[in-house]
């Protein structure tokens, strides 16, 4: 059946007065939107397959191109919106699950935008980070409730307590799990290098650790996911920390699938699977059907690494996330990473991405509150994930109780991603979510590293400014300090769950 009911999503408009027929757009579009008319030599556009990634408009030297939403309008209908109708056309034609890349794009409320921060006035001084020290150093890992000292009898003391292994972060922002496979070699390399340059950590995702990236292992967290790709004892021991991936915010309850055509020699070697075979991650870990099974895996990993690495458990934010997180801590997790429902992905069923899970703001607040009520908050660090768009979101998460955050989408955007949501097609024009060698070389890893580093530096400067404004000079004094947040336009119930007062209180 011809796919004649599906309308095009975008129109590539060409200003012929500005077009110099240089064909840069033709060479850059992996979706074959632009073409050279053989008779006239003029460059034309056929927008049917345009995904709105803006690669052509960015590279067009005369800015002759504009990408617009397709003007084709359906009869106005508040219920049957264009995307719902189009979704049905696509499924009527294809009969499959609708796929989507990146995070939830539905207009759910973003609670970060309903929270405001405090600043000092009169009764205490704000601190100028340009002139005074401002400390962002953060340690992730299990902490004892108290330390024990030994007296030497002459008034001196020495430390008796030996701390569990900790990850030292120069800034409380890490790169979330993105596997080599879901993103390109160059993108993975840029993330690893930027993490090293900024004293933070990148996460391998479930794709294993390419042998070239082992030199960055001091700044890498390795994942053990349901497919166990690339996991062996060296992989565990070379890393800085090991993360058990239970769930992902974009697709709670769902596994993963790296299609066979992406599994080339390099990815095959890194994932330890045959070349050209599908890499399927089951929805659950088939050795974890309960909390006691999780405990066994946590301790198996601790044994394998001789108790020298913190073990993290990453869960997606779902309805009873607080109880689940508490269980993870009691099962031995040193770090609990919570991924909210706006978190990104390379591919997820659209209906799951847009409808399953809860926002990170409430999940984080609920987990922090729950762990404190149980008196076990010290036993694990909390890492929040799931769409941090600016340093403002990050600092609000820390005030709600996060020790650190993971950024994924923001990191990809800094490398050029335009959120076209077509990661799953393998045709990423920005060279990020693709394994096509013609496309992957579009991301220069040096440029990627520099841009990621700049982003982290910019955000850390902003965090320091905001901290200074609040009269705080160490990040741990903001962590969980909800006195510095107020809610605007939130219900009493939401304020209660977030544990913050309303603005004006």
């Amino acid at each position: 059946m011809r796919k004649w009911l599906v309308e095009q999503e975008f129109v590539a408009e060409r200003d012929v007065d500005r077009c110099i027929n240089c064909s840069v757009c033709v060479r850059q579009c992996a979706n074959d939107v632009h073409l050279v008319d053989e008779e006239t030599g003029c460059v034309l556009s056929d927008s049917q397959s345009c995904v709105g990634c803006h690669r052509c408009t960015t590279l067009c030297p005369t800015k002759a191109l504009t990408i617009k939403s397709a003007p084709q309008e359906f009869r106005e209908n508040a219920n049957w919106t264009a995307d719902r109708i189009q979704g049905i056309y696509k499924q009527a034609e294809g009969g499959g699950i609708l796929l989507a890349g990146m995070g939830n794009d539905r207009p759910w409320p973003v609670l970060w935008d309903n929270m405001v921060l405090n600043a000092s006035q009169v009764t205490n001084p704000s601190i100028d980070p340009l002139r005074e020290p401002m400390e962002l150093t953060t340690y992730l890992g299990r902490k004892p409730d108290r330390i024990e000292l030994e007296s030497d009898g002459n008034g001196g003391v020495s430390l008796k307590t030996q701390l569990a292994p900790q990850l030292k972060l120069a800034i409380p922002i890490m790169f979330s799990a993105m596997s080599y496979g879901s993103i390109s070699y160059n993108a993975s390399l840029a993330l690893a290098r930027a993490a090293q340059a900024m004293g933070t950590f990148a996460n391998t995702g479930e794709g294993g650790l390419h042998k070239d990236f082992r030199q960055y292992a001091g700044n890498m967290i390795v994942q053990v996911a349901s497919g166990r790709f690339g996991v062996d004892v060296d992989y565990l021991n070379i890393a800085s920390a090991v993360e058990i991936k239970i769930g992902q915010g974009a697709k709670p309850g769902i596994g993963g699938h790296l299609p066979a055509e992406k599994v080339d020699a390099q990815i095959s070697a890194t994932r330890m699977i045959p070349e050209g075979s599908d890499a399927l991650s089951p929805a659950p870990h088939h050795d974890i059907y309960s909390i006691e099974d999780l405990r066994q895996l946590i301790f198996a990993l601790k044994e394998a690494t001789r108790y020298t690495k913190p073990i993290s458990v990453k869960i997606s934010a779902v309805h009873n996330v607080a109880a689940i997180a508490s269980g993870c801590v009691r099962a031995g997790a040193d770090i609990v990473a919570i991924d909210g429902f706006r978190g990104g992905t390379g591919a997820a069923p659209l209906v799951i991405r847009d409808n399953v899970g809860i926002p990170i703001e409430v999940a984080l607040a609920a987990v922090d509150t729950r762990l404190r009520e149980e008196g076990i908050r010290n036993q694990a660090s909390i890492v929040a994930a799931g769409s941090f768009r600016s340093s403002g979101d990050v600092i609000k998460a820390i005030a709600l109780g996060a020790d650190a955050v993971y950024i994924g989408t923001a990191a990809l955007i800094s490398m050029g991603c335009h959120l076209c949501q077509k990661c799953y097609t393998g045709k990423c024009n920005w060279g990020i979510a693709t394994q096509d060698s013609r496309l992957t070389k579009r991301l220069n890893p040096e440029v990627g590293t520099r841009r990621l580093t700049n982003l982290l530096r910019g955000w850390s400067l902003e965090i320091k400014e905001m901290l200074g404004g609040m009269g705080i000079n160490a990040i741990e004094s903001l962590r969980g300090n909800r006195e510095h947040l107020r809610g605007v336009n939130l219900s009493d119930r939401e304020l209660n769950i977030l544990g913050i007062k309303a603005a004006g209180e």
Partner: protein, 378 residues
């Protein structure tokens, strides 16, 4: 009859939901040899900083004042009304052996108005209570009962609960409060005083400083920007902060670190006002590890923002500034006497020629230790 003297409403209505913010003056005198002096000197010292307060709160802590009953917890309680007193006394009788109870002596000063009913009790937990709570120390039992009375008995407030020491406080300028409580008639080896300049709470007798729990008393000048997390950190360990004041969390933090976690005073000071990471990195390896571990484990106890505090306990006195010294604090010594104050003039007025006078660096604790448990009259 007491109903209309002080109370218009239950005292909890005086505590606003927002955190207390106040400017202040603090002063402390300690004779390390244990010799005792009257309250005249400390009143003179704090009076010299009259303008740092605004008449909405003043108070004192005195150590060694009850030598006749040194092993009993001295509860200083303020009541809204007789009903609260009756209820509290019934409650006390259930859990404590009350050795002695009496009205706290006061002078009639025209300037001090709306005074509550002030009673003190010398108590010890009953044997059967101690046995039932075999997993708690006597101190723990006292703390939980004080918290119960303060949170759950309407119109009663225990503002001092240590042994052989007492807090005296109220609404007014501290020099008037001192004379109201007739402090010149007490003999103590250590005195602290506080003048308050609250910016957002109504003057309430219980809200004046010092804050006291067991034999800890805290006078404090500043605003702790980390209050929210300090408070939540303390909740992990069963402390319920009901006063919305920084002073309260500081008092509980000292109690947690020193009494419960058994950290030496100078180490506890490093938890509250730790060195910067960059300073830690320059220290010898062993010290580095100790301080790094302290910061990692006690991050929730870090007091951020401007403060100068004088913390007193039965073993001595600690003066401490925030780590970047955003509030004034001066210390002096003359012979066996240690002085700590917000202003140098407040020391010089009672000790014109100290042997040594200095401004301690931020985060560097001034520690005075009682050398002898034998206290003597000057």
């Amino acid at each position: 009859m007491t109903q209309d003297i002080w109370r218009r409403d239950a005292h909890r209505k005086w505590i606003r939901p927002e955190k207390d913010q106040s400017g202040c003056a603090i002063s402390g005198i300690m004779n390390e040899d244990g010799s005792r002096i009257s309250g005249e000197a400390i009143i003179t010292s704090i009076e010299n900083m009259h303008d740092r307060g605004n008449g909405l709160g003043g108070g004192f802590a005195a150590y060694g004042i009850y030598p006749d009953l040194p092993d009993h917890y001295a509860f200083h309680v303020m009541y809204d009304n007789d009903a609260a007193r009756e209820k509290t006394e019934r409650y006390l009788a259930d859990f404590f052996d009350v050795e002695k109870s009496e009205m706290i002596p006061t002078a009639n000063l025209a300037i001090i108005r709306r005074r509550p009913l002030l009673v003190r009790y010398f108590v010890r937990p009953k044997d059967e209570v101690s046995q039932r709570h075999y997993d708690l120390t006597e101190d723990d039992i006292v703390v939980s009962n004080v918290m119960y009375i303060n949170a759950d008995i309407d119109g009663a407030f225990v503002f001092s609960s240590g042994k052989n020491m007492g807090c005296f406080k109220g609404v007014g300028y501290p020099e008037d409060i001192g004379r109201f409580y007739r402090l010149e008639e007490y003999q103590a080896w250590m005195w602290t005083a506080h003048a308050r300049f609250p910016t957002n709470t109504t003057g309430w007798w219980g809200g004046a400083h010092p804050f006291g729990i067991l034999d800890w008393a805290v006078v404090h000048n500043g605003e702790v920007s980390s209050y929210g997390i300090n408070r939540r950190y303390l909740e992990n360990f069963g402390y319920h902060c009901t006063m919305q004041t920084d002073t309260e969390v500081i008092g509980y933090l000292w109690d947690l670190l020193v009494r419960k976690h058994k950290l030496p005073i100078h180490i506890a000071a490093k938890c509250l006002a730790p060195p910067l990471w960059s300073q830690i990195e320059r220290l010898p390896a062993e010290e580095q590890e100790l301080l790094r571990t302290l910061r990692i484990v006690y991050g929730g106890a870090l007091l951020n923002g401007p403060f100068s505090i004088v913390v007193t306990h039965s073993g001595g006195m600690i003066g401490l500034n925030d780590r970047i010294k955003l509030r004034p604090m001066v210390a002096a010594r003359k012979g066996q006497t240690l002085y700590v104050s917000s202003e140098e003039a407040a020391i010089r007025i009672i000790c014109p020629t100290p042997d040594k006078i200095w401004r301690p660096a931020g985060g560097e604790p001034i520690i005075g230790r009682l050398q002898s448990k034998e206290v003597v009259n000057a």
